[in-house]
Symmetry: C2
Subunit: 115 residues, 2 copies
């Protein structure tokens, strides 16, 4: 028994009512994580490995954890895969229009840069 990894850690998600807006802002203030969120807005559910980001797998795991613990995404185990969705409705119930306004602002910025 060379390591004491134990089994796969259970996925922890904060309750909708416990989501902290500062945590959400911090989670979104990173280009890789913003790309993840934008991708999920277009596609409702994706597996981890299918996001158009260019970082090492372990780095991607880290970013998913930040988003998950901030309450932005939900992850579901399915065999070997881990499926990811936005917690859009819960987020919207607590902070109306927050996610949409932020992502729209980023979209607008990306558009103005491609000119």
């Amino acid at each position: 028994m060379p390591r004491s990894h134990g089994r796969r850690a259970a996925l922890v998600h904060p309750d909708a009512g416990a989501i902290d807006v500062l945590d959400v802002l911090h989670a979104l203030a990173d280009p890789t994580r913003m790309t993840i969120v934008r991708t999920l807005r277009a596609d409702p559910e994706r597996a981890c490995g299918t996001f158009p980001v260019d970082v090492a797998p372990s780095t991607l795991t880290h970013h998913f954890r930040v988003l998950r613990e901030a309450g932005v995404i939900r992850q579901r185990e399915d065999g070997n895969r881990r499926w990811t969705t936005l917690r859009l409705e819960e987020l919207d119930a607590r902070f109306p229009r927050l996610l949409d306004t932020i992502v729209s602002a980023y979209d607008r910025q990306a558009d103005s840069a491609n000119t």
Copy 2:
């Protein structure tokens, strides 16, 4: 001449069109800076020392610099004082409803905590 400080550095503000939404999110993802912004929403202009935050003066200067360089606030020299305002209109022109939505979300969270 013990130091080579030179004179007071000029205040640098990014052009409205160069404001980066990720910088704005990062600037707002801190409780002290969020308090500064909320205070400025209530009062249009304040001097640095009049904010209800509990940090050392040099720390406050640091937070003002982060907000200023992100394009969230504007600072104006006036004799010994430095007056601070929100760049609300410029921000709103580039990212409609962004600041208002974020600050409202924080207000809502603060309200729900005081229950």
